[in-house]
Structure formats: structure tokens, C-alpha cells
Symmetry: C2
Subunit: 428 residues, 2 copies
């Protein structure tokens, strides 16, 4: 099946040279970018891309999809009160149906704001998986495990994670992939972390874990374990190239060296960290200097409260300029790299996605160059980071399939999902 | 002339009690809100406001409209290099026609993102005024004065400012008002500041001035004048209730007391300050504790690079939570207050705008409650600050006149303006 993106006014390739191409066609066959050139034709569908900018779809490396149900349910509170008074009581009311609609609603928001790949960790993962498969988006789904040092819970959580893995069959198209999700070093016992690691090695799976999010977490780790969280994960043999560390706000120089040596990867969530006041900015430039793969994440909608990575990119640039008192750090190009090819590296998909190059999967978004946020066009990268919002995304393509065209969703009944989300929300 | 907003699903009044009304009508007559109630009817136009949220239009208290022409022209640079290498050479190419289209383009962006009133300071102010009058938006325009201690320039700048004032005739509808704009204490001589003050008293005009934006400005002021910028302005009798201080990032306790005592007002520009790394967050909570009128501003499009106050509100909340390491500060309601009634107070228009109340001018925006950013509706204030962007604004009304309906502009030819902006941009 072919798809031709005809006469793209600009193509932000995000290839190694960061080439920006002009007035060019992109031919996609069976989900793969096969030709980038002039005067191409097709027997399949063609999209007129005049006054459009084509760029790689954005990659959200840390999310809790179904928490879209709790967007705006609790804000402006410290983390512990937010969890105890708001989120945990609300989560007790979730069932498979509400999680399904919560996940679908998050996917609607992602597709409409140009995100083509996500990394999810939550509960009722079967419901998330079922919802996700129907949408055509790309992503990883983890069943989030928490045992709080309770040995019975350790076994039941591992059993649930194992059981979830059985939903992934080899004959699938590989758009949705499994990942293991032990929640964090402070909510998971050493036993659970070690057994998760064994399972990951046996099944050749990556692991997604929260770590070093707040200052309190660091202090507690030093008190309880005699070392900082990353040092602890390293000491139990947990840290390697298949580990995705979400947040990682507070890292010592030694911990950065440990992450570098292990080949582990980072998901950076600037808005969530600022909103919850986790106490200091992630050392972005140090991580990039060490060539540690770093991607961008929104965290869940209850702690952001948006899945729009355009907004997240701007906040990322602003945070690091402010925190380092340096207007030159976290440049527009640096931030765009994190949100595209950087995210692909974090998810181990750099051979498949993250840039527009022949041979890669066609995860492409088209921006409207006549949108006020993209005018004037002195520098498209600057406009994308500092001016645009996800509302300038006109068309979203994943694996060569059009999920949104002219801002109309093609695979999800938006009205029905919103009705169901509102209905659930009215009950909590 | 009547306008009826029928069956508003929610009305965020921003009145003294911060009432949120449900399923209610708003009747507007000759630009004034005359009735808020049930089952109202009209002989004039009616807008069906089912699934819409009505709220006061947002107020942008610091802007340089025509700098929209330079959006994305220079980023990720220190202030001095940015001015010398990028902005000043580009400004040398401006003429009345380009400034007109730059101003119109900024107004398009504002109307489309729910801003109904602005406070501008720039050059070619006659061109800005002429463009603005045709659009129906509300605002203040200043001719920006800079003399750099050159006495000839002092006189010519005052002459230009005086001449600009002659464009405002008593018979106008009062939507666009004059304000005086001495650029800053470091670009204006004491003589210029004192003569501007006399002129302001004579004509009963407010004054808009940049102050205490960067750490360097504070250091230079102490070195050159023996005191900090606000202390200096106070010492020359400049500080009173008609002064709007833009930026004011770096304030000592003594300076806050001086501002409070004088009754002066503040325009806070968080994104611009973070992007240019001006070195520390404005002491927002201290200013609010002192009950100093404080509004929100975007600064010009060249240093933000967006005029969307929805994004600005989110950045404002995030900045202060991060800088103060406190998730409870800069709450959603606090930030919404700053961007609405707070801005009205800063501009001395609190009797006319900033809230939806009987007797006030109808500067009202309608948000689409089915937009993904506004769903679910646990808390509309939270959704507005943390989730929404200006793209959720469906309709923008100023002084009872519809400037945008169903996202279609009513008073400006958007296509023509964009063509002209692109043409100018291609020349610099």
C-alpha cells in the first residue's frame, strides 16, 4: 500500500545532518519511507503537502495514558497529599471500561498534537492494550508493578506482569510492544526488582521505572539503603542498556557516570517536575554531554495536565535556560532532537523511527505553515519549539497509515470517547 | 445593538466571589453586559453557548506588537548579542507598512487565542494605531522613547510622543487609548524621565516602562546611580499609581515597599524572562501579598515567541512552583486572576473589564468545552491554566462586538496579513 506526500514545502528530516529539504515528495510503501525526491508519483493515496511542513512524529517516553480521566482533578498540591487525597481514591473507582476510554482519550490527544509513539505504565494494562491496538498509534505498554515490600504482592505482581505479556503474539504488526514496569526503587522490593530483571533478560524486554524524581526520594534512599537511588539500582545489578529511567531529576556526577557506563536511558519530564516542584532541574546538558540517550515525556495528564509535546518542548527549553541562567542552553534544535530521535533512542527504536529517512517507518506529522504560530518562517525549528502548539498539526501518520487528516481523526470515534470520559468523570 | 450569549454551559465570572455560573444567558447591549440570567431573549444576534464556557477576555499587559515580524529570527542568544546581531539590524528595515502588518498579525494571534486587551510599546506608533483601530480589539499604545543621554534626542523623542498623542480624539469609542512609553531607566536620561512624568500629569496618562529585567541592569544601576532601579525611579519622583513596571524580576524588600507605597503596578512576563535567562524569578507571591496590582504579559513575539496567554499562564504557574520549590504557590486560580482582573487593574480598567459582571464592558471569550484540552471538566480553572491552549477559544468578543466566531476572524483579512508578513520576513 502506497502513500505519497506530494510537494512538501519543508521537510525537517532530523537525519544526522539535520537537513531541511524544500519542495520535495516522500513516497511511503507498506509503512516504510522508500523514496524522498522530486516528481514522484503513486497509484495509492496522495496528500497535497503544499504549505505543509513534514517532520518526524513526536515521541512521548513517559506517560500514564488512562490518567487522562483525572486531568484537573487535583492540582497545586504536594505529591503526598495529591496521591492520598485525590489520585488513590479516584483510582479505586477505575474498571477495565473506564481505563479503556481513558487510554483512548489520551491517544486522541496525542494524535491531535502530533505524538506518534508513547511509553505507558499503568494498571488494567490489558484494557489499555486492547484500546491502543484499534487506534494505529505506536507504543510500549507496561503493567505497573508495586509490592511495597510485601512478599505476597511481589509474586502476584510478577504473575500479573507475566500474564500481560501473553497478550503479545508474534503475528502482530509490532506497533504495540511490551515493556516491564516496576514502579520505582521506593515502591518495589529488591526481590521484585531482581526478579523483574531476570524476566527482562529471559524475554529480552526493556524496563521502564521511575527514579530520583524528588529530593525526598534521594534523602530516603540514603537513609534506608545507605546510597542514592541510581547507586542502589547499580548495586543490585539492575542498571543496563535496557533500562529507561523516568524523571532522574537529581543525579550526582557519580550517578551520571554509572548511567553512562550501563548504557541506560533517560525520560525527561520537565512540566511534571516543575508542577510538582520536585526540587531542581534535571542536569540535561550534562546528560547530553555524556551522550546518554535522553527523550522527552509528559507524565500522565493528572500531573501536567497536557499530553501536547509541543508545549512540553517549550517548557523544556525555558526550564533549562532559567535553571542554568544561560539563554544558549537547551536550544530549539537540542530540544527538538530530544523529542524525536532522542526519544527513539530511549525506546530502542532509532533504526525504525525518530527521523524522516529512506528505510525508516513512516511516522510523520504535517504542520500547517499558514497557522499563525508558524508565520513568519524565519526558522521552522524555532517556530516549532517556541511558538507552535499541537493545534498546528494538520495530519498524523503512523507506520504509513493516516490516523488524522485535516484534523479529523480516522481510527477513533472522538465524540463517543469524550462522552464516556465525561460520564466517568462525573462519578468521581 | 444587542448580543445574547444563550445557554452558556459555564460562566467563569471572575467576580469578587469567583462565582462559576451554570446554564445561564448573558445579554449585552451597546457593548455593556446588562443582564446575566435565565430565559433571556433578544431582538439582536444570539450565539448558542451550549458546551461553551464564557470567561473574561485575557489581558496582555506588556507587548511589542510589530515584533511579530521577528518571531524566530533570533533565539537561544544572550540579550546583548540578540539585540546587536539580530533585532536592531532587522528593525532598521522596518517602515510604516511593515509595522502595520506586524501589528495586525499580532492582533490576529491575540484574537485567536482569547486576548481582548493589550499594552503596546514600539516605534512607528501611528502605523500601529491605524492598524489597531480597524480590528475592534482594546488596547493601549505607546510611542517607545529612548534618548541614551543625548539631549537632542530627549527633545525629539518628547516631540514624537506629543505628536502621537494628537491622533487620539475625544470622539473615538475609547477602545484604543494612549500611554507614554519611556523605554527604561538605562536607556532614558533623567531629563527624559522627568519631562515624561510632567507630560503624563498634564495629560492624565499612564506610563509604561521596562525596569529591573536583568541582574546586569541592577548591577549597572548601583554602579552608575548608587542605587537600584526602583530606588532611582522613586528618588526622581517618577514612581506613582500611574506607572506600569514591565518585568520587575529583581526587587529588594525595600523596592517592593516603594512600589506598594507609590501604588505602582507590575506586568509579569515569565516566558520572556526564562527564555532570555534574566536571572531569577519575579517575587510574585510577595507582590500579591503586598496587594500590588500584577498582570501577565507575553513581551514581543521575538522574545517569547508566542502571544498566546494560555501558554503564558501555564508557564507562570510552573515557573513559580519550580523557583520556590512549592507546588501550592501560583495556583491555577491565582494565575487566572493575574491574567484577567489583575491585568485590568494594572491598566486602570478594573471598572470596565477583567470580569463578567453586569455593568462591565463585554470583553468575553467562549471556550469549546468539547475540545480535548477542556475534557474532562473536573475543574475548568485547572483546565484553562494547565491543559488548554489558545486553540480552544471558539469566539472572541470585545466591547460587545464579535471579532472571531467559530474560529473565523470577522474584522481582519488573515490571508492578506500573512502574505504581507511573509513577504517582509523574506527580505530580512
Amino acid at each position: 500500500m502506497e502513500l505519497l506526500l506530494k510537494d512538501c514545502t519543508q521537510v525537517l528530516t532530523q537525519d544526522n545532518k539535520r537537513n531541511i529539504l524544500k519542495d520535495i515528495d516522500i513516497l511511503i510503501k507498506d509503512g516504510i519511507i522508500t523514496v524522498i525526491g522530486k516528481n514522484l508519483s503513486t497509484t495509492g493515496k496522495m496528500i497535497d503537502c503544499k504549505d505543509k511542513l513534514a517532520m518526524p512524529g513526536l515521541i512521548n517516553t513517559h506517560n500514564h495514558l488512562a490518567m487522562s480521566l483525572f486531568k484537573g482533578y487535583g492540582d497545586d498540591m504536594p505529591l503526598d497529599r495529591w496521591l492520598q487525597e485525590k489520585i488513590w481514591p479516584a483510582e479505586a473507582k477505575l474498571d477495565n471500561d473506564s481505563v479503556k476510554y481513558g487510554a483512548l482519550f489520551a491517544i486522541i490527544e496525542m494524535i491531535k498534537t502530533g505524538t506518534t509513539c508513547f511509553n505507558d505504565m499503568y494498571l488494567s494494562s490489558e484494557a489499555v492494550l486492547k484500546a491502543t491496538k484499534s487506534t494505529g498509534i505506536r507504543g510500549f505498554i507496561a503493567y505497573g508493578m508495586i509490592d511495597l515490600d510485601n512478599p505476597e504482592k511481589t509474586e502476584s505482581e510478577l504473575k500479573a506482569a507475566n500474564s500481560f505479556l501473553k497478550n503479545f503474539t508474534p503475528e502482530e504488526n509490532g506497533l504495540i510492544l511490551p515493556i516491564l514496569g516496576p514502579h520505582s526503587p521506593y515502591t518495589c522490593s529488591r526481590d521484585l526488582l531482581e526478579k523483574t530483571k531476570l524476566l527482562a533478560k529471559e524475554k529480552n524486554l526493556p524496563i521502564h521505572i521511575h527514579v530520583s524524581e524528588t529530593k525526598k526520594e534521594i534523602e530516603d534512599s540514603i537513609k534506608d539503603k545507605g546510597m542514592r537511588p541510581i547507586e542502589y539500582l547499580n548495586s543490585i545489578g539492575f542498571l543496563d542498556k535496557n533500562i529507561i529511567l523516568a524523571h532522574a531529576c537529581h543525579l550526582s556526577e557519580d550517578e551520571i557516570a554509572l548511567i553512562k557506563h550501563a548504557g541506560a536511558r533517560i525520560s525527561h519530564n520537565p512540566t511534571s517536575n516543575m508542577k510538582l516542584a520536585t526540587g531542581g532541574a534535571m542536569p540535561l546538558q550534562k546528560l547530553l554531554n555524556a551522550k546518554i540517550p535522553t527523550g522527552l515525556g509528559t507524565d500522565g495528564s493528572a500531573s501536567n495536565n497536557s499530553l501536547d509535546l509541543f508545549g512540553e518542548m517549550k517548557v523544556c527549553a525555558l526550564l533549562h535556560k532559567f535553571a542554568n541562567n544561560d539563554p544558549e542552553t537547551a536550544s530549539a534544535q537540542t530540544v527538538l532532537d530530544i523529542a524525536t530521535i532522542g526519544g527513539a533512542k530511549v525506546l530502542g527504536l532509532e533504526d525504525k523511527i525518530g527521523s524522516i529517512e529512506v528505510g525508516k517507518r513512516a511516522d510523520i506529522i504535517l504542520l500547517d505553515l499558514n497557522d499563525t504560530t508558524m508565520v513568519p518562517n524565519h526558522n521552522p525549528v524555532s517556530n516549532i519549539i517556541y511558538s507552535a502548539t499541537g493545534a498546528c498539526v494538520d495530519t498524523t501518520i503512523v507506520n504509513g497509515k493516516i490516523l488524522m487528516e485535516n484534523r479529523t481523526l480516522k481510527t477513533i470515534d472522538e465524540k463517543k470517547v469524550i462522552e464516556n470520559v465525561n460520564e466517568f468523570a462525573s462519578k468521581i
